[in-house]
């Protein structure tokens, strides 16, 4: 390191010497580097502010108004919308639907995705074809999937009806019974989303340390112990990533529900929080109230995400 007049004028520090090769302190970074970093970050930060944080702030502001979406003006009404939601008898059903749909889609699509990834990580004939087949639905639009599965679940002419008829079972009316309707949209979304969890887990499996598994096998560990004690810990970062992204994707599912059930049957049979935002804003014209539900959804997601991060962080430190 070449001494400069500035560095030579600094008084010697007490305490242990800094390790050789340690990164320079922030205050020591050349001005040009800061400028470059700012230039590189600025476009993305600007986009985030314009397209994410400004709408977020706008949405929160609207949640305190009585805005009818067709009206040119909105009036401040304090917490009235929040009180209305709290006392809304349908809010409980919507929250329950959201919870069931999210837990089922996150849990099942991750479990199935991992199982398929492990299976297709083996040397099997035709595995590339099967991998492609599993991933393909993920790139199809939700609306198209919804329309296709309308025919699958059609109680009069659908494929499920045909299968049930062959074994002499009466097919449930998926479109008129809330429980079955929720099952239908959940199953449809899992089918569509499975390719995503599968391909991420497959990539993680291919990057894992095979020697650890071999060592455990030589030490006599059972297959189950090797799975739970060797493989799963290695996949923890991937599981963490998937749990957040699949959760966020599941909570915002709209197209499949809109195409297949329009949030029904019987009112709120398959209405989730995001669908209720749409319904209140665009069907009932109560945009202020819709903004309130969107804000509540945001707060719920915020809490869940923070809890997820803390739990995963603790788990990683333990490993």
């Amino acid at each position: 390191m070449t001494a400069t007049p500035q560095s030579s004028s600094v008084a010697p520090r007490s305490g242990p010497p800094e390790p050789v090769g340690a990164p320079p302190k922030r205050s020591g970074r050349p001005y040009g580097e800061w400028l470059l970093a700012a230039l590189l970050l600025l476009p993305n930060l600007a986009l985030l502010v314009i397209f994410t944080y400004r709408p977020l702030a706008d949405n929160i502001r609207l949640s305190f108004t009585d805005w009818n979406i067709s009206a040119p003006v909105a009036h401040y009404i304090g917490f009235d919308n929040y009180k209305t939601w709290w006392h809304d008898p349908n809010a409980h059903e919507v929250l329950k639907n959201t919870l069931i749909f999210t837990v089922a889609t996150v849990g099942i699509s991750m479990a199935l995705g991992l199982a398929l990834a492990i299976l297709l990580d083996q040397q099997l004939r035709g595995r590339n074809l099967v991998r492609s087949a599993i991933f393909a639905p993920f790139v199809i639009s939700g609306a198209a999937v919804g329309i296709a599965f309308q025919f699958v679940f059609d109680p009069n002419f659908g494929m499920i009806r045909d299968l049930f008829d062959r074994v002499g079972i009466t097919v449930p009316d998926f479109y008129q019974r809330p429980g079955w309707a929720l099952f239908m949209v959940t199953a449809t979304y899992i089918w569509k989303n499975l390719g995503y969890t599968f391909v991420i887990y497959l990539a993680a499996l291919q990057g894992r340390r095979a020697d650890l598994d071999e060592a455990a096998e030589i030490d006599g560990a059972s297959a189950w112990r090797r799975f739970t004690k060797v493989l799963l810990p290695q996949l923890r970062p991937t599981t963490f990533f998937l749990s957040i992204t699949v959760l966020l994707n599941s909570v915002q599912v709209f197209d499949i529900i809109n195409v297949m059930t329009r949030g029904g049957p019987q009112g709120y049979g398959t209405t989730t929080l995001v669908y209720q935002v749409y319904r209140e804003t665009f069907v009932n014209s109560r945009a202020g109230y819709g903004a309130t539900i969107a804000t509540i959804m945001f707060l719920i997601l915020l809490v869940i995400t923070v809890v997820q991060v803390r739990v995963m962080d603790r788990g990683m430190r333990r490993d």
Binding site: D58, I69, Y175, G264, Q266, G267, R279, R286, V306
Partner: protein, 439 residues
Amino acid sequence: MSDLTRRGFLGVAGGAALATGLAACAGTGSEGGSSGSAKAGGSSNTIDFWSNHPGKSKEAEQKIIADFEKANPGLKVKLTDAGKDYEEVAQKFNAALAGGSLPDVVVASDVTWFNFALNNRFADVGALFEQNGLSTSDYVDGLYADYLYENKHYAIPYARSTVVFYYNKDVFKKAGLPDRSPESWDEFTQWAPKLQSAIGGGKSALILDDGANYLDWTFQAIAWSYGGGYSKEWTPTFTDAGTLKAGQVLQDWAKKKYVKTSADSASDFSAGLGAVLLESTGNLGGFKDVKFDLGVGFVPAPNGVKCCPTGGAGVAIPSGISAERQKNAAKFVEFLTNAKNTATFTQATGYMPVRKSALQEPSEAAYLKQNPNFKVAVDQLPKTRPQDYARVFVPGGGADIGQALDKIVAGSDVKSTFSDLGGTITAAYNSQVKPKLKS
């Protein structure tokens, strides 16, 4: 801790984006943010017509547009697919109100027009016609009056319909029933076991729309026939004896499996899955190729009570476009609904003629003679009545009523379901309508 913060930040950012996405699309709704002509986009010599092509009318609309452009060389009409149903058209129009690029002419249904009129988003089309030397006197009085509020008309009738009683004559014959619609819903209830037996298992005596697909419209006919209804002006009447009776009749049919509610009732009926369908005249055009003998009758109306609701859509002109664009739009609307084009449109779809003189058009007279089923709706017109305010004037009223009816079909207690519905409608009226009513 730094990892936690970074991940937390990413999670929050993602959550924020998805949570606010839909509501943010709606615009800001700021005070005084009315879309004026300055930000309404559009061109003065191109008329942007937003339609959902009711009754599969796209070809008919294209033909009328071609004729208009031929007759008016200086003007062009752009036919925009604005949604698959009336609700989607209204949603697109709401988005345009926030975004500023308004159409010149837009289809507005019986349920959607009033909210736009109440919020001054539609122009007084009656006044526009008068200013431009166009007449409204030939429109069927009742249909034109449906769009009246505060002495202004906010739309011109276009794809107007009524509910009619469709039936499968083959099944009626097999059941030994007369070739006609019943005189009351009680008579239908007596017929139902015979129809059910004649049509067979897995099928239904009656097919109705489900609550997400206009059951709230067709059920009005049943409620009215028992002396009930959804409201008297702005006062809900869901717990009146007649409405409760109608709800109970519907539930009893469901319990005995005489009725099936469907997201696509017309397709189910045309596939032979039901003996009777209560639906719009606008479906008649789609029933030309059914494989059974189709009957069309009046909606049951005991004791001469008017029990048939009108429905369908009109065409409106936004208030936020320039006077020049409004003038051209009025010209196009008048052409779209003149006697000749009314005949073209009704023959293509099954909707009712909205002009009195359309019935004198030679092509229309000949068509009605050759297709007596189409004439039923025309003959039924004097027996129709305007719909209840709770369905058509309260934002979301129709959807709320449909949801309640779905619950009743599924077995929920009729009285408590209707009572809750009355509370929902009253709350929506108090917050969305009452403060804006001028009288």
